[in-house]
Protein backbone atom coordinates (compact mmCIF):
# COMPACT_ATOMS: atom_id res chain seq x y z
CA UNK A 1 0.00 0.00 0.00
CA UNK A 2 1.14 3.54 -0.72
CA UNK A 3 1.91 5.61 2.36
CA UNK A 4 1.00 8.83 0.62
CA UNK A 5 -1.15 9.29 -2.39
CA UNK A 6 -1.84 12.69 -3.95
CA UNK A 7 -4.08 12.71 -7.04
CA UNK A 8 -4.65 15.61 -9.43
CA UNK A 9 -3.78 18.22 -6.84
CA UNK A 10 -4.60 21.78 -7.82
CA UNK A 11 -3.87 24.94 -5.92
CA UNK A 12 -4.10 28.58 -6.83
CA UNK A 13 -3.44 31.84 -5.02
CA UNK A 14 -5.75 34.68 -6.14
CA UNK A 15 -6.07 33.24 -9.63
CA UNK A 16 -2.37 32.33 -9.92
CA UNK A 17 -2.26 28.60 -10.66
CA UNK A 18 0.63 27.30 -8.56
CA UNK A 19 -0.09 23.55 -8.71
CA UNK A 20 -1.65 22.26 -11.92
CA UNK A 21 -2.81 18.69 -11.61
CA UNK A 22 0.00 17.08 -9.65
CA UNK A 23 -0.14 13.40 -8.81
CA UNK A 24 2.38 11.76 -6.57
CA UNK A 25 2.46 8.56 -4.61
CA UNK A 26 5.11 7.40 -2.23
CA UNK A 27 5.48 3.90 -0.85
CA UNK A 28 6.97 2.78 2.42
CA UNK A 29 10.72 3.22 2.70
CA UNK A 30 10.97 5.33 -0.42
CA UNK A 31 13.10 8.48 -0.52
CA UNK A 32 11.84 11.04 -3.02
CA UNK A 33 13.60 14.29 -3.80
CA UNK A 34 11.86 17.22 -5.43
CA UNK A 35 13.97 19.65 -7.42
CA UNK A 36 13.07 22.61 -9.57
CA UNK A 37 13.51 26.34 -9.92
CA UNK A 38 12.31 28.67 -7.23
CA UNK A 39 8.63 29.55 -7.56
CA UNK A 40 7.78 26.25 -9.26
CA UNK A 41 5.44 25.22 -6.44
CA UNK A 42 7.60 22.78 -4.46
CA UNK A 43 6.84 24.33 -1.07
CA UNK A 44 3.18 24.65 -1.95
CA UNK A 45 3.07 20.94 -2.75
CA UNK A 46 4.56 20.05 0.65
CA UNK A 47 2.24 22.51 2.36
CA UNK A 48 -0.77 20.88 0.70
CA UNK A 49 0.49 17.44 1.69
CA UNK A 50 0.94 18.56 5.32
CA UNK A 51 -2.36 20.43 5.27
CA UNK A 52 -0.84 23.81 6.05
CA UNK A 53 -2.53 24.88 2.85
CA UNK A 54 -5.99 23.84 1.63
CA UNK A 55 -6.05 22.30 -1.82
CA UNK A 56 -8.47 23.58 -4.47
CA UNK A 57 -8.78 20.26 -6.26
CA UNK A 58 -7.65 16.66 -6.15
CA UNK A 59 -7.29 14.21 -3.30
CA UNK A 60 -4.91 13.46 -0.46
CA UNK A 61 -4.66 10.02 1.13
CA UNK A 62 -2.39 8.72 3.87
CA UNK A 63 -2.12 4.94 4.33
CA UNK A 64 -5.45 4.42 2.65
CA UNK A 65 -7.19 7.01 4.85
CA UNK A 66 -8.69 9.92 2.93
CA UNK A 67 -7.70 13.30 4.29
CA UNK A 68 -9.22 15.23 1.42
CA UNK A 69 -11.16 14.47 -1.73
CA UNK A 70 -13.00 16.23 -4.49
CA UNK A 71 -16.76 16.70 -4.32
CA UNK A 72 -18.35 18.69 -7.11
CA UNK A 73 -15.62 21.13 -7.96
CA UNK A 74 -14.48 21.64 -4.38
CA UNK A 75 -12.15 19.84 -2.01
CA UNK A 76 -13.70 18.35 1.10
CA UNK A 77 -11.60 17.56 4.16
CA UNK A 78 -12.21 14.69 6.57
CA UNK A 79 -13.62 15.25 10.07
CA UNK A 80 -11.49 16.95 12.70
CA UNK A 81 -10.99 13.68 14.58
CA UNK A 82 -9.93 11.86 11.44
CA UNK A 83 -7.51 14.62 10.49
CA UNK A 84 -6.01 14.48 13.95
CA UNK A 85 -5.26 10.79 13.40
CA UNK A 86 -3.85 11.46 9.95
CA UNK A 87 -1.64 14.23 11.34
CA UNK A 88 0.23 11.58 13.32
CA UNK A 89 1.38 9.98 10.03
CA UNK A 90 3.71 12.74 9.00
CA UNK A 91 6.27 15.26 10.15
CA UNK A 92 7.64 18.37 8.48
CA UNK A 93 11.07 19.95 8.74
CA UNK A 94 11.09 23.62 7.78
CA UNK A 95 13.72 25.61 5.97
CA UNK A 96 14.06 28.01 8.90
CA UNK A 97 13.61 25.37 11.63
CA UNK A 98 10.72 27.06 13.47
CA UNK A 99 11.88 25.76 16.82
CA UNK A 100 10.07 27.20 19.84
CA UNK A 101 12.59 29.73 21.18
CA UNK A 102 11.21 29.78 24.74
CA UNK A 103 11.57 26.00 25.15
CA UNK A 104 14.79 24.13 25.81
CA UNK A 105 15.93 21.55 23.28
CA UNK A 106 14.46 18.82 25.45
CA UNK A 107 11.11 20.58 25.77
CA UNK A 108 10.99 21.38 22.05
CA UNK A 109 11.14 17.66 21.40
CA UNK A 110 8.97 16.35 24.22
CA UNK A 111 6.23 18.94 24.64
CA UNK A 112 4.09 17.82 21.72
CA UNK A 113 4.51 14.19 22.77
CA UNK A 114 3.27 15.01 26.25
CA UNK A 115 0.53 17.55 25.55
CA UNK A 116 -0.70 16.27 22.18
CA UNK A 117 0.02 12.55 22.09
CA UNK A 118 -0.47 12.14 25.86
CA UNK A 119 2.70 10.16 26.32
CA UNK A 120 4.16 10.19 29.84
CA UNK A 121 6.90 12.71 30.49
CA UNK A 122 9.32 9.94 31.39
CA UNK A 123 8.78 8.04 28.17
CA UNK A 124 8.90 11.22 26.08
CA UNK A 125 12.23 12.20 27.61
CA UNK A 126 13.66 8.73 27.07
CA UNK A 127 12.63 8.93 23.44
CA UNK A 128 14.20 12.37 23.13
CA UNK A 129 17.47 11.25 24.70
CA UNK A 130 17.81 8.39 22.24
CA UNK A 131 17.23 10.77 19.32
CA UNK A 132 19.58 13.42 20.69
CA UNK A 133 22.33 10.84 21.06
CA UNK A 134 21.71 9.65 17.53
CA UNK A 135 21.91 13.17 16.14
CA UNK A 136 25.00 14.04 18.19
CA UNK A 137 23.22 16.55 20.43
CA UNK A 138 23.31 14.82 23.81
CA UNK A 139 25.17 17.70 25.44
CA UNK A 140 22.62 20.23 24.15
CA UNK A 141 19.47 18.94 25.76
CA UNK A 142 19.22 21.85 28.21
CA UNK A 143 20.29 24.53 25.72
CA UNK A 144 17.88 27.01 24.17
CA UNK A 145 17.63 27.33 20.38
CA UNK A 146 19.32 30.75 20.41
CA UNK A 147 22.43 29.13 21.89
CA UNK A 148 22.77 26.70 18.97
CA UNK A 149 24.27 26.99 15.51
CA UNK A 150 21.93 26.78 12.53
CA UNK A 151 23.01 23.20 11.84
CA UNK A 152 22.32 22.19 15.43
CA UNK A 153 18.95 23.91 15.36
CA UNK A 154 18.00 22.06 12.21
CA UNK A 155 19.07 18.76 13.78
CA UNK A 156 16.90 19.54 16.81
CA UNK A 157 13.97 20.23 14.53
CA UNK A 158 14.58 16.89 12.82
CA UNK A 159 14.64 15.24 16.24
CA UNK A 160 11.40 17.02 17.14
CA UNK A 161 9.74 15.65 14.00
CA UNK A 162 11.16 12.15 14.48
CA UNK A 163 10.08 11.96 18.11
CA UNK A 164 6.48 11.70 16.97
CA UNK A 165 7.50 8.55 15.10
CA UNK A 166 5.90 9.59 11.83
CA UNK A 167 5.47 7.21 8.92
CA UNK A 168 6.66 9.83 6.51
CA UNK A 169 8.87 12.88 6.89
CA UNK A 170 8.81 15.96 4.66
CA UNK A 171 11.76 18.35 4.34
CA UNK A 172 11.39 21.76 2.71
CA UNK A 173 14.88 22.90 1.73
CA UNK A 174 16.34 21.83 5.08
CA UNK A 175 19.77 23.29 4.38
CA UNK A 176 18.93 26.45 2.47
CA UNK A 177 19.24 28.64 5.55
CA UNK A 178 22.62 27.15 6.46
CA UNK A 179 26.23 27.97 5.66
CA UNK A 180 27.94 25.35 3.48
CA UNK A 181 29.93 23.92 6.38
CA UNK A 182 26.74 23.43 8.43
CA UNK A 183 24.87 21.98 5.46
CA UNK A 184 26.98 18.83 5.52
CA UNK A 185 26.09 17.90 9.10
CA UNK A 186 22.36 18.11 8.35
CA UNK A 187 22.64 16.19 5.07
CA UNK A 188 24.56 13.47 6.90
CA UNK A 189 21.68 13.03 9.31
CA UNK A 190 19.20 12.72 6.44
CA UNK A 191 21.43 10.18 4.67
CA UNK A 192 21.49 8.09 7.82
CA UNK A 193 17.71 8.19 8.00
CA UNK A 194 17.60 7.05 4.37
CA UNK A 195 19.79 4.07 5.25
CA UNK A 196 17.26 3.13 7.91
CA UNK A 197 14.56 3.28 5.23
CA UNK A 198 12.71 6.20 6.70
CA UNK A 199 10.14 7.33 4.13
CA UNK A 200 11.06 10.87 3.13
CA UNK A 201 10.11 13.56 0.65
CA UNK A 202 12.84 16.15 0.38
CA UNK A 203 12.74 19.46 -1.47
CA UNK A 204 16.37 20.37 -2.08
CA UNK A 205 18.81 22.25 -4.26
CA UNK A 206 21.69 19.94 -3.29
CA UNK A 207 21.97 17.88 -6.49
CA UNK A 208 24.82 15.65 -5.37
CA UNK A 209 22.93 14.84 -2.20
CA UNK A 210 19.68 14.20 -4.08
CA UNK A 211 21.50 11.82 -6.42
CA UNK A 212 23.02 9.92 -3.53
CA UNK A 213 20.06 9.61 -1.25
CA UNK A 214 17.01 9.34 -3.51
CA UNK A 215 15.18 6.36 -4.92
CA UNK A 216 13.37 8.80 -7.15
CA UNK A 217 13.83 12.41 -8.15
CA UNK A 218 10.99 14.62 -9.28
CA UNK A 219 11.65 17.70 -11.38
CA UNK A 220 8.97 20.35 -10.98
CA UNK A 221 8.46 23.49 -13.00
CA UNK A 222 5.56 25.92 -13.34
CA UNK A 223 3.37 23.81 -11.09
CA UNK A 224 3.69 20.55 -12.99
CA UNK A 225 5.95 17.51 -12.72
CA UNK A 226 8.14 17.89 -15.80
CA UNK A 227 10.12 14.68 -15.32
CA UNK A 228 10.74 12.00 -12.76
CA UNK A 229 12.73 8.83 -12.35
CA UNK A 230 15.62 7.20 -10.55
CA UNK A 231 18.66 9.47 -10.25
CA UNK A 232 20.37 7.61 -13.14
CA UNK A 233 17.30 7.87 -15.36
CA UNK A 234 16.76 11.51 -14.60
CA UNK A 235 20.31 12.66 -15.18
CA UNK A 236 20.38 10.81 -18.54
CA UNK A 237 17.10 12.28 -19.72
CA UNK A 238 16.90 14.39 -22.84
CA UNK A 239 14.45 16.79 -21.20
CA UNK A 240 15.32 20.31 -22.37
CA UNK A 241 13.86 22.10 -19.34
CA UNK A 242 15.66 19.78 -16.97
CA UNK A 243 18.96 20.28 -18.78
CA UNK A 244 18.48 24.01 -18.66
CA UNK A 245 17.78 23.85 -14.93
CA UNK A 246 20.82 21.65 -14.27
CA UNK A 247 23.01 23.89 -16.39
CA UNK A 248 21.76 26.85 -14.44
CA UNK A 249 22.58 25.16 -11.14
CA UNK A 250 26.12 24.14 -12.13
CA UNK A 251 26.63 27.64 -13.49
CA UNK A 252 25.91 28.89 -9.99
CA UNK A 253 28.48 26.68 -8.34
Amino acid sequence: MELLEMQHVKKEFNGLKVLKDISLSVSKGEVVSIIGPSGSGKSTLLRCATMLEKMDGGSLTYMGESACWEEGDKCVYASKAKLKEIHKCFGLVFQNFNLFPHYSVMKNITDALISVDKISKKEAEERALVLLAKLGLSDKKDAYPCQLSGGQQQRVSIARALAKQPQILFFDEPTSALDPELTAEVLKVIKELAKEHMTMIIVTHEMQFAKEVSDRIIFMEHGVIQAQGSPEELFDMKNERLKEFMGHLSGNL
Binding site: T50, L52, K84, H87, K88, F90, G91, L92, F94, N96, N98, L99, F100, P101, H102, D111, A112, S115, V116, D117, Y144, P145, C146, R160, K164
Partner: protein, 216 residues
Protein backbone atom coordinates in the same frame (compact mmCIF):
# COMPACT_ATOMS: atom_id res chain seq x y z
CA UNK B 1 -2.86 68.93 62.95
CA UNK B 2 0.05 66.91 64.24
CA UNK B 3 2.61 65.38 61.90
CA UNK B 4 1.56 61.92 63.00
CA UNK B 5 -2.07 62.68 62.20
CA UNK B 6 -1.12 63.98 58.80
CA UNK B 7 1.05 60.97 58.03
CA UNK B 8 -1.70 58.64 59.15
CA UNK B 9 -4.19 60.24 56.78
CA UNK B 10 -1.70 60.28 53.92
CA UNK B 11 -0.94 56.65 54.68
CA UNK B 12 -4.61 55.77 54.25
CA UNK B 13 -4.61 57.63 50.95
CA UNK B 14 -1.54 55.73 49.82
CA UNK B 15 -3.28 52.45 50.53
CA UNK B 16 -6.27 53.47 48.41
CA UNK B 17 -3.95 54.52 45.55
CA UNK B 18 -2.19 51.16 45.70
CA UNK B 19 -5.58 49.41 45.71
CA UNK B 20 -6.74 51.31 42.63
CA UNK B 21 -3.48 50.44 40.92
CA UNK B 22 -3.56 46.74 41.77
CA UNK B 23 -7.25 46.18 41.00
CA UNK B 24 -6.98 48.05 37.70
CA UNK B 25 -4.12 45.79 36.59
CA UNK B 26 -5.93 42.71 37.83
CA UNK B 27 -8.96 43.46 35.66
CA UNK B 28 -7.50 45.32 32.69
CA UNK B 29 -4.69 42.93 31.79
CA UNK B 30 -6.95 39.93 31.07
CA UNK B 31 -9.77 42.13 29.76
CA UNK B 32 -7.33 43.72 27.33
CA UNK B 33 -6.46 40.28 25.95
CA UNK B 34 -10.12 39.58 25.17
CA UNK B 35 -10.55 43.01 23.65
CA UNK B 36 -7.54 42.32 21.42
CA UNK B 37 -9.20 39.07 20.30
CA UNK B 38 -12.27 41.11 19.35
CA UNK B 39 -10.08 43.61 17.54
CA UNK B 40 -8.54 40.76 15.48
CA UNK B 41 -11.81 38.84 15.04
CA UNK B 42 -12.78 37.45 11.65
CA UNK B 43 -16.29 38.76 12.31
CA UNK B 44 -16.52 42.27 10.91
CA UNK B 45 -19.18 43.44 13.38
CA UNK B 46 -17.19 42.31 16.41
CA UNK B 47 -14.06 43.86 14.95
CA UNK B 48 -15.82 47.16 14.22
CA UNK B 49 -17.36 47.38 17.68
CA UNK B 50 -14.06 46.71 19.45
CA UNK B 51 -12.30 49.17 17.21
CA UNK B 52 -14.86 51.86 18.13
CA UNK B 53 -14.52 50.99 21.82
CA UNK B 54 -10.73 51.27 21.72
CA UNK B 55 -10.87 54.51 19.78
CA UNK B 56 -13.37 56.03 22.26
CA UNK B 57 -11.34 54.96 25.29
CA UNK B 58 -8.11 56.31 23.87
CA UNK B 59 -9.59 59.40 22.30
CA UNK B 60 -11.33 60.93 25.34
CA UNK B 61 -9.89 61.95 28.71
CA UNK B 62 -9.88 59.28 31.39
CA UNK B 63 -11.13 61.91 33.83
CA UNK B 64 -14.23 62.46 31.70
CA UNK B 65 -14.85 58.71 31.46
CA UNK B 66 -14.55 58.53 35.23
CA UNK B 67 -17.11 61.30 35.73
CA UNK B 68 -19.54 59.69 33.29
CA UNK B 69 -19.28 56.30 34.93
CA UNK B 70 -19.66 57.79 38.39
CA UNK B 71 -22.51 60.22 37.70
CA UNK B 72 -24.06 58.41 34.73
CA UNK B 73 -26.23 55.93 36.63
CA UNK B 74 -27.89 58.59 38.80
CA UNK B 75 -28.10 61.37 36.21
CA UNK B 76 -29.12 59.23 33.25
CA UNK B 77 -31.10 56.41 34.80
CA UNK B 78 -32.07 57.84 38.18
CA UNK B 79 -30.37 54.91 39.86
CA UNK B 80 -29.38 55.78 43.41
CA UNK B 81 -25.79 54.87 43.94
CA UNK B 82 -24.48 54.41 47.46
CA UNK B 83 -21.20 55.76 48.77
CA UNK B 84 -19.44 52.46 48.04
CA UNK B 85 -20.07 53.11 44.35
CA UNK B 86 -17.42 55.80 44.30
CA UNK B 87 -14.60 53.30 44.57
CA UNK B 88 -16.34 50.82 42.26
CA UNK B 89 -16.70 53.54 39.62
CA UNK B 90 -12.99 54.30 39.83
CA UNK B 91 -12.09 50.64 39.28
CA UNK B 92 -14.56 50.23 36.39
CA UNK B 93 -13.41 53.41 34.64
CA UNK B 94 -9.72 52.63 35.03
CA UNK B 95 -10.11 48.98 34.04
CA UNK B 96 -12.04 49.56 30.83
CA UNK B 97 -9.79 52.45 29.89
CA UNK B 98 -6.56 50.57 30.45
CA UNK B 99 -7.95 47.43 28.81
CA UNK B 100 -8.17 49.44 25.57
CA UNK B 101 -4.53 50.43 25.77
CA UNK B 102 -3.41 46.92 26.71
CA UNK B 103 -5.52 45.47 23.88
CA UNK B 104 -3.55 47.43 21.30
CA UNK B 105 -0.30 46.32 22.90
CA UNK B 106 -1.37 42.65 22.87
CA UNK B 107 -2.48 42.99 19.28
CA UNK B 108 0.83 44.42 18.12
CA UNK B 109 2.63 41.60 19.96
CA UNK B 110 0.42 38.85 18.57
CA UNK B 111 0.63 40.21 15.04
CA UNK B 112 4.41 40.40 15.25
CA UNK B 113 4.72 36.64 15.84
CA UNK B 114 6.21 34.80 12.87
CA UNK B 115 3.70 32.57 11.07
CA UNK B 116 6.21 29.71 11.26
CA UNK B 117 5.51 29.28 14.98
CA UNK B 118 1.84 28.60 14.25
CA UNK B 119 2.73 26.27 11.39
CA UNK B 120 5.25 24.25 13.38
CA UNK B 121 2.67 23.86 16.16
CA UNK B 122 -0.03 22.83 13.71
CA UNK B 123 2.10 20.14 12.09
CA UNK B 124 3.00 18.80 15.55
CA UNK B 125 -0.71 18.46 16.28
CA UNK B 126 -1.24 21.21 18.86
CA UNK B 127 -4.83 22.48 19.00
CA UNK B 128 -5.49 26.17 18.36
CA UNK B 129 -5.93 26.83 22.07
CA UNK B 130 -2.76 24.94 23.00
CA UNK B 131 -0.84 26.80 20.32
CA UNK B 132 -1.94 30.15 21.70
CA UNK B 133 -1.42 29.38 25.38
CA UNK B 134 1.79 27.35 25.15
CA UNK B 135 3.60 28.70 22.12
CA UNK B 136 2.35 32.16 21.20
CA UNK B 137 1.35 33.94 24.44
CA UNK B 138 4.62 33.38 26.36
CA UNK B 139 6.59 34.86 23.48
CA UNK B 140 4.12 37.72 23.08
CA UNK B 141 4.49 38.61 26.77
CA UNK B 142 8.23 38.88 26.39
CA UNK B 143 7.87 41.05 23.30
CA UNK B 144 5.36 43.49 24.79
CA UNK B 145 6.96 43.84 28.22
CA UNK B 146 8.60 47.25 27.54
CA UNK B 147 5.31 48.77 26.30
CA UNK B 148 3.42 47.25 29.22
CA UNK B 149 5.93 48.75 31.64
CA UNK B 150 5.29 52.18 30.13
CA UNK B 151 1.55 51.80 30.60
CA UNK B 152 1.94 50.61 34.18
CA UNK B 153 4.09 53.62 35.05
CA UNK B 154 1.46 55.91 33.55
CA UNK B 155 -1.19 54.09 35.58
CA UNK B 156 0.62 54.84 38.84
CA UNK B 157 0.36 58.54 38.09
CA UNK B 158 -3.15 58.25 36.65
CA UNK B 159 -4.49 56.88 39.94
CA UNK B 160 -4.45 60.52 41.11
CA UNK B 161 -7.24 61.28 38.61
CA UNK B 162 -9.64 59.63 41.06
CA UNK B 163 -9.62 62.97 42.87
CA UNK B 164 -12.08 64.15 40.18
CA UNK B 165 -14.86 62.27 41.97
CA UNK B 166 -13.39 62.95 45.41
CA UNK B 167 -12.20 59.41 45.97
CA UNK B 168 -9.98 59.66 49.05
CA UNK B 169 -6.71 58.46 47.53
CA UNK B 170 -3.25 59.88 48.02
CA UNK B 171 -3.55 62.97 45.88
CA UNK B 172 -7.03 63.98 47.06
CA UNK B 173 -6.00 63.76 50.70
CA UNK B 174 -2.70 65.54 50.18
CA UNK B 175 -4.51 68.42 48.47
CA UNK B 176 -7.13 68.64 51.23
CA UNK B 177 -4.55 68.76 54.00
CA UNK B 178 -2.40 71.24 52.12
CA UNK B 179 -5.36 73.60 51.68
CA UNK B 180 -6.63 73.26 55.24
CA UNK B 181 -3.23 73.57 56.96
CA UNK B 182 -1.65 75.95 54.45
CA UNK B 183 1.46 73.79 54.13
CA UNK B 184 3.13 72.34 51.06
CA UNK B 185 4.48 69.36 52.94
CA UNK B 186 1.66 66.87 52.13
CA UNK B 187 2.09 67.62 48.42
CA UNK B 188 5.81 66.99 48.71
CA UNK B 189 5.14 63.71 50.48
CA UNK B 190 2.68 62.78 47.73
CA UNK B 191 5.35 63.51 45.13
CA UNK B 192 7.84 61.29 46.91
CA UNK B 193 5.21 58.57 47.19
CA UNK B 194 4.48 58.49 43.42
CA UNK B 195 8.17 58.60 42.64
CA UNK B 196 9.06 55.73 44.95
CA UNK B 197 6.05 53.74 43.74
CA UNK B 198 7.22 54.04 40.14
CA UNK B 199 10.76 53.31 41.13
CA UNK B 200 9.59 50.02 42.59
CA UNK B 201 7.45 49.29 39.51
CA UNK B 202 10.44 49.87 37.23
CA UNK B 203 12.58 47.63 39.43
CA UNK B 204 10.05 44.81 39.38
CA UNK B 205 9.55 45.04 35.61
CA UNK B 206 13.29 44.99 35.09
CA UNK B 207 13.43 41.78 37.12
CA UNK B 208 10.69 40.24 35.01
CA UNK B 209 12.46 41.24 31.81
CA UNK B 210 15.65 39.69 33.09
CA UNK B 211 13.84 36.50 34.04
CA UNK B 212 12.61 36.23 30.44
CA UNK B 213 15.96 37.05 28.86
CA UNK B 214 17.07 33.42 28.79
CA UNK B 215 15.90 33.21 25.19
CA UNK B 216 15.70 35.40 22.15
Amino acid sequence: MSIQMMLLQLGKGMLVSVEIFALTLLFSLPLGLFVSFGRMSKNGIVRGLTKAYISLMRGTPLMLQLLIIYFGPSLLFKIRTGTEYRFVAVIIAFSINYAAYFAEIYRSGIESMPIGQYEAAKVLGYSKAQTFVKIILPQVIKRILPSVTNEIITLVKDTSLAFAIAQAEMFTIAKQIAAAQTTIMPLMIAGVFYYVFNFIVALVMERVEKALSYYR
